[in-house]
């Protein structure tokens, strides 16, 4: 009984893995990514985000992925992902941007959210596609699926960012 109790000390992880898929070519069509994160259901913006990171993805290939774990402080979170081009230049341009709000954790389960970033959703200059295409629109309270390792790249075992 004590062994069972000791084994029960490790609770399953509560996590949502966001997988970013795209048919854009790297690095000719996109070479950078900007990820903004907010706890809660408020969409992160350039002026309001708890975490915003930019990375050159010239050496990477889709799918890309980010993990979000919860220690119980927030039941949900929101993210904005921008695929950019010309990040090594002075003024990178936005290729595709999508915002997903109210991503809800499932207690003690690892869930997955696959978000496509299609070429058809790419902005042309300063104009981006009008809302109405489900594959390009922002997503609110998405339906999560159980984590499928076949759809996500291998875990990098990177330490978590715990500033939120």
């Amino acid at each position: 009984m004590l062994l069972a109790a000791a084994a029960g000390c490790h609770e399953p992880v509560t996590e949502v893995v966001v997988v970013l898929q795209s048919d854009l070519r790297v690095p000719t069509e996109t070479d950078g990514i900007l990820v903004s994160v907010n706890p809660g259901s408020v969409a992160p913006t350039a002026q309001l985000s708890m975490l915003a990171t930019t990375q050159v993805i010239s050496e990477l290939a889709f799918p890309l992925s980010i993990g979000f774990t919860s220690e119980g402080t927030t039941p949900n979170f929101s993210i904005t992902v921008q695929l950019q081009h010309g990040v090594t230049q002075f003024a990178p341009t936005i290729v595709v941007s999508r915002t997903i709000t109210d991503v809800r954790f499932v207690d003690q389960q690892t869930m997955m959210l696959v978000v496509p970033f299609l070429r058809t959703c790419a902005c042309m200059g300063t104009s981006c596609p009008s809302p109405g295409d489900p594959s390009c629109d922002n997503i609110e309270t998405p339906v999560l699926k159980p984590f499928d390792p076949a759809l996500a790249p291998p875990s990098t075992m990177m330490p978590p960012f715990t500033g939120l």
């Binding site: 062994l3 893995v17 990820v35 975490l51 930019t54 990477l60 990098t156 990177m158 978590p160 939120l164």
Partner: protein, 117 residues
């Protein structure tokens, strides 16, 4: 009243002194009788002949047997069962407690893994 008269009256009130030692040990003598000087007569049974062949079992029963040698604790199987069980239990608890828990998934792009604390 003279003291001798008082002493004589006390002796008369005490009664006659029983001459026990004198009657049993022979002629009277003065002073205490040493007990070692009068050896007690041996019991009558000591004078009889013991036939050991007649009842050997009875003789054996009368002589106390030496206690059996005590088995050391570490040579008892109960000791090793208890010790082995305790060792296995301790190993199991240690492994269960120190075993790392399930690791969260980390992505391949920054911020890789965000933990909401």
């Amino acid at each position: 009243m003279p003291a001798s008269l008082i002493f004589a009256a006390a002796l008369a009130a005490w009664g006659p002194v029983a001459p026990i030692a004198e009657t049993e040990t022979g002629p009277a003598h003065e002073g205490p009788v040493p007990t070692a000087a009068v050896p007690p007569e041996p019991p009558a049974v000591a004078k009889t002949t013991i036939d050991r062949s007649a009842a050997p079992s009875l003789l054996a029963a009368r002589s106390p047997l030496p206690p059996p040698p005590r088995t050391p604790t570490y040579k008892r199987w109960q000791f090793w069962v208890i010790a082995g069980g305790a060792f296995a239990f301790a190993v199991g608890v240690t492994v269960a407690v120190t075993r790392p828990g399930p690791q969260p998934y980390s992505g391949n792009v920054t911020p890789y893994l965000v933990s909401f604390h």
